[in-house]
Amino acid sequence: MSQLLVDHLLCEDGSTIDFEERASGLKESFIANQLVQERVFLVDWSERWDFVINCLGEAKIVNDQLVRTVPVISEIGTEQVTSDNTTFLVNPDAYDLFATELVKIQGKGPRQSESPNPAYEYAEITLRFTQPVYPILSDAEIGTTQDVYQSGGVTTPLRYVSSRGTRIYFEYPLKVGHLVYKDTGSYAVNAVEKKQGQILLAYTWHRVPSRTLGVCSQLDNILPAIGCCNSDFFDGWPPESLLLVNVSTFQYWHPDAQYTSDITFQFKHLDQSFAYDGIEYPLVAYGHNHFFRFHNGDSGVYRFTSNGDDTGYPTYSPINFMNLFQV
């Protein structure tokens, strides 16, 4: 007979749900670089979905604020002893696993009511715990209810935001007549290409609740920002160095019947601070509104506007990227 561990789950609203865990239900695996744990719980049938939702966490919009309940954590034993009595850490950097999927709910015990509203004495619930690629932190841990925090012109993603970057090279054509051969002083006959490094960055904001079914409602705020650059520091990137080039969404249901999106922002990062004679201009944005210019037989990067004055329109409007993360 399998061993049952008795405990209770403390819910977000302060109530508790009693459960038993089937000790033999524990399964662990590591496939495709993903550490996975499955655990089996027995819960009163009428409380099964309250239990699942409290385990998987929630995200809701309440009074125009994003309110999150983070999923429960399953800690995996980190220290293992090998046959030669040496100790090694299974996962020394991050051993917390979060409840992310419901594998199955199966009714157990005598059936207590019939279709169309079937009910059983208790539910056997199999939950899967994984390690998401983004930080999951409670309000108490970060000291704010916001996923992305802004202070003093600096915007910083704190939780539920993942990022990845790919370095690319940008072909930057130069006009015929601006480069001369060293020995003869004659112009280069063909247009040549200068290489300017850029980074294609993708930030994904995870589990963002939507106000409407079928559409990510945040897109109304986000759409006009495509083609704009950052007016403030964003995650350490200087103003005007990030250009929002595209946005994509993945939409799905959360088990609490909340339609939810993962929103991916694709930015192009350009920093030309090193582009001129190796001189670095720290904390100054020589970003997307600065262009390469030949001037008096030399070259450099200069700001570019519709009237040749700082009052004119730049090519890419600077806006506050904090607005991208508002609900």
Partner: protein
Amino acid sequence: MASIFVDNYGPVDYWERPNSPTESYQEGEIVVQRIYDTPWDTRWLFIRQVVGFATVVDDDTDGAYIQRTIPQAYFPDNFPEFLDTGPSNDGRWVYCTSLESVEGVKPTGWDTTYDVGTFELARCTFTFKSLPYRVLTDGEVTAYVNNLPTDVYIQDFASPELRPDPSINATYYDPPLYETRILRYVTKKIQPSSQHLVLPYGKMFFVSTDNKKIPSNNGINKLVSSADVIYTWHQVPSQDLNNTNQLKKIQAAIGTVNREPFDGYPAGTLLLTAVNNTPRRLIGGYYASDIELRMKYFNATDLYGKVLNVGHNWVLRFLYDANFTGPVPGNLDFSNSYQYTLLSANGSLSGRKLFDATWFRALFDVSTKDWNNLLVAPNP
């Protein structure tokens, strides 16, 4: 034992099997499996009622419209409730989407007419899933639409000259069960995108302290925001194999912009670019299609990212004003820069526009009515 009511037949009994249902949530989807036993002879009546179906009804008063029998919902006690306020307020969001198998239970003999075995019971395994579109009954739609105010299409522009189509200032009526309000069986997906505009040489300048206006050496790209808006109209019943008549009507609208505000998009901002048709058969053999309408949304923005509610017939134009003192937020008429301007064949409002305007609500109408005659009263 429970029973389900079948139109023109009456109640059909069924029994849910022990250990049914099983519930799961993986990769953003609720999946429920339920196993029912039902009398063998009426199994397909039962199955059709659980899976749902749709037909076109032609009414002398309102013309053709779609009548739907919606699939069985999975919404037992203590199941999470969908709280999005809409035409249906009972919170259901998981529906039967497929019949996995039918197995005969307790053989009773042989049916010589169809040359198959007969059984006392049919054991039916159904899959229920959370759907990305609303599933509403005919009654729910009718009750909801009858409580809506009359559709009044008046463009919210400071000046009538700025309207993409100045003639749109009207009310009109379409019957509740026309699916023109896209209340049910329509999935909407928005894929943001952008397009590169190469700014003409000599229209923008390097900032310098010596007051020299130095143009760029190269063509400069500007990124302009847009979006692909994709509507999928599910299970559109048809009288012919490929929904040909419906597709012909939609085909005529390709390359046109929305004449009226549609689904919250201002007139002129949606351009119908393509249509995909996926033929299917509904349970009971009815021909049907899933029709995907692909539209390009463009709404010009000012320097501050504020939308100006002008669409595809408005094109970027460069201006120069020696007295320019600075940009004004939300002002369409910003000078010394680029400005969106209406383009027409003769340079006046009366000229033919680059993209003609058509009624986009008519794209979701299976009747043959002339939508130009649906206007019932011009607004003063």
